[in-house]
Symmetry: C2
């Protein structure tokens, strides 16, 4: 008789538990100052409007809000997304949009559509580990987007705006070169725009999709597909996102969506559609102001507390700062010490690398902590780093000097 | 430069548009009497309770109802499902349950876990075409569960209770033999219990999972996984279902769920949990009485109107009757005629066969039509069938006799 391991598909060798997921469990311990979870501040969810809109939708749409609906998503919500994508520089209509269960499902369905065993995916170093989690089930190989393009490359995956985990934004020049490279090697570009709406300083860079439309002449002729989400701007609990791309791609994604889970929640789509119809820009402005304050607090705290030899990014939007530690320090081992000694949490950097992990890195999220907690948490973290930097020579001295 | 077809994964050759999906669009035409859509009667959705529960959940859980939640599903909802599975003969706890986006996603994740290119799946003839839609993306081959078991068979898929499309229920003896066969050939059994709660006559047969637990001694030692859903009993719009099985399977499914869409909608899970906590049995009894009336109306109409040589099933639950036409008639061509001549719709049988399609068959759903419409629709359908049976000889005579 076989064991379960024998029965699982070989693809399961590529599907592993995420370290972020394990770390999120730490958030339940109230005495830990956590910069680990990359999730929106729940204080920003439009709770009262949600309350009245669920009631309104059930009153107006009645039983239809509770019935099956079409796999591509509600036409009116798709039209709203298409208008938004059009305004952002990618003229399209609802035939270019499919509603997904968050942008996580967008990545899974795109993996299913484009990837088979051994196909090459070009990724940034580091990149969003949830994308790796989605793609891994299709058994691709990964290569550095900044390195030589291997034979068999099919897809380039990027988070151009305020990336998870680095907070970095691709410059206009980098976006153009990405499209040059994609053309040269005939790869599909997957643009993950999860944080794009959360810019709090600087100027918008054009979407890669918009640049591709400008080159190609029409959304039907691009090689870029864009993944968007309502998780960071409205509520992740709705599980709503979208893919925007050429009809030839969208039609296949709709078939895959149908096989995967039939359609996104009807009632949640109806609520989302109503909530974005009114006051959405003002709501986004509130989010941006909030994250701007938190990001500033973290920049100030890092500048104030971190020892020489520690470097970090300065995001213009989103939720993340990427910290590079001096050579020889290991983010994963630092986390153990940080939890044990200082009750402060973050995500070590290594798991975000599909190739060539840099152990001396970590990701800090400033979305959930108050400016005061950000300062205190960074102070504690700096203390752990300092102690580690001093190891092997002057650790005792440092401790003595502090006492 | 490549075309999109060149860029898609080879698996897409197996992913095709569903005929049911195309047919559902016909429901929008009000003058058609449709037995096509296999969806619940929306009059049975607990609309008023939903209204008050969405409000309550947002008032009580607040922002947490709108936040990310764990991939395996809310612990309290998983406990409710585990208790229900335990009462139904499969003792288990929440560690044996993962919440999915309807049972459609359960099938997709199980396909992802167990199936690779060329792996064999044993299916009934006919079977649920949505399961084929989920599995096809993993490129299996299909074989008749009633025939010889091919080498490389990994999985047997069954809908033991009031199956879609046949309405048939597997006898106790058939269930035992399925488990014997699964043991002999070391295949995993996927039990799709989508309609199990909708029995309106006769006695419950034990779940295949329960029989497997009785043989094996514990849920941890079975080879059967059970897929359940809230779509037929509460509302499909919530997109909530579950898988029940050994922890070794559930843990892998949770990883795949995380990569596929992170988790099921938090707020919808909270609403489902509250709605089933109170008065659920009484609600199920109302559903059963309703479907019993509709099923009786359809049996009566079939007996009253169908010509000799047409046979049909007599379901004890669920939503479907399977009709076998005389040899030589083709369900798909009959549908064209039925729509054009009599404005009545159904689903032709052939697409439900993964192997060896029987063209002279069709599926009727009685869930959405009133007893009066059922009688009128079956009368019209019988007229189309009768006219086709008469073709080639006495069509004119039949018409004359009727006039």
């Amino acid at each position: 008789m076989s064991t379960w391991e024998d029965r699982f598909s070989p693809r399961m060798a590529h599907v592993r538990a995420s370290e972020i997921r394990e770390l999120l469990k730490l958030l339940d311990q109230p005495d830990i100052l956590s910069f680990a979870g990359g999730i929106p501040d729940p204080a920003l969810f439009p709770l009262e409007r949600m309350q009245s809109l669920y009631a309104q939708v059930l009153a107006d749409a009645g039983q239809q809000a509770l019935q099956y609906s079409v796999s591509e998503g509600l036409p009116s919500l798709r039209r709203w997304v298409a208008e938004r994508m059009t305004r952002a520089g990618a003229p399209c209509d609802e035939g270019n949009i499919v509603i997904t269960a968050g942008s996580q499902q967008a990545l899974d369905l795109l993996g299913k559509l484009f990837l088979g065993r051994g196909d090459g995916v070009l990724v940034e170093r580091p990149t969003y580990m949830g994308a790796l989690g989605a793609f891994n089930a299709y058994e691709p190989t990964y290569a550095d987007l900044g390195g030589e393009v291997p034979a068999g490359a099919r897809l380039a995956y990027v988070v151009p705006d305020f990336a998870n985990p680095t907070g970095r934004t691709m410059t206009r020049r980098e976006r153009d070169r990405l499209l040059d490279l994609a053309e040269t090697h005939d790869v599909v570009v997957v643009e993950d725009g999860a944080y794009r709406e959360l810019r709090f300083s600087g100027c918008d860079e054009p979407m890669v999709l918009a640049l591709d439309v400008a080159r190609s002449g029409s959304i039907e002729d691009v090689r870029t597909v864009f993944c968007g989400t309502f998780s960071k701007t409205l509520s992740p609990a709705l599980r709503l996102g979208w893919i925007c791309g050429p009809r030839a791609v969208i039609e296949k994604i709709v078939l895959l969506k149908q096989g995967a889970d039939l359609h996104a929640s009807t009632i949640n789509q109806m609520v989302a559609e109503r909530i974005v119809a009114d006051g959405h820009e003002a709501h986004l402005d509130r989010l941006r102001a909030h994250y701007r304050d938190h990001a500033s607090a973290m920049q100030a705290a890092l500048a104030r507390h971190m020892p020489m030899g520690v470097a970090w990014t300065k995001p213009e939007g989103g939720m993340f700062v990427w910290v590079r530690l001096p050579e020889g320090l290991d983010g994963a081992r630092l986390l153990e010490a940080a939890l044990a000694e200082e009750r402060v949490a973050f995500v070590p950097g290594a798991p975000f690398f599909a190739v060539g992990p840099e152990l001396n890195s970590l990701r800090l999220s400033y979305s959930l902590s108050s400016p005061e907690d950000i300062d205190e948490g960074v102070r504690r973290l700096a203390r752990v780093i300092e102690a580690r930097m001093a190891y092997g020579g002057n650790a005792a001295q440092v401790a003595a000097a502090r006492a």
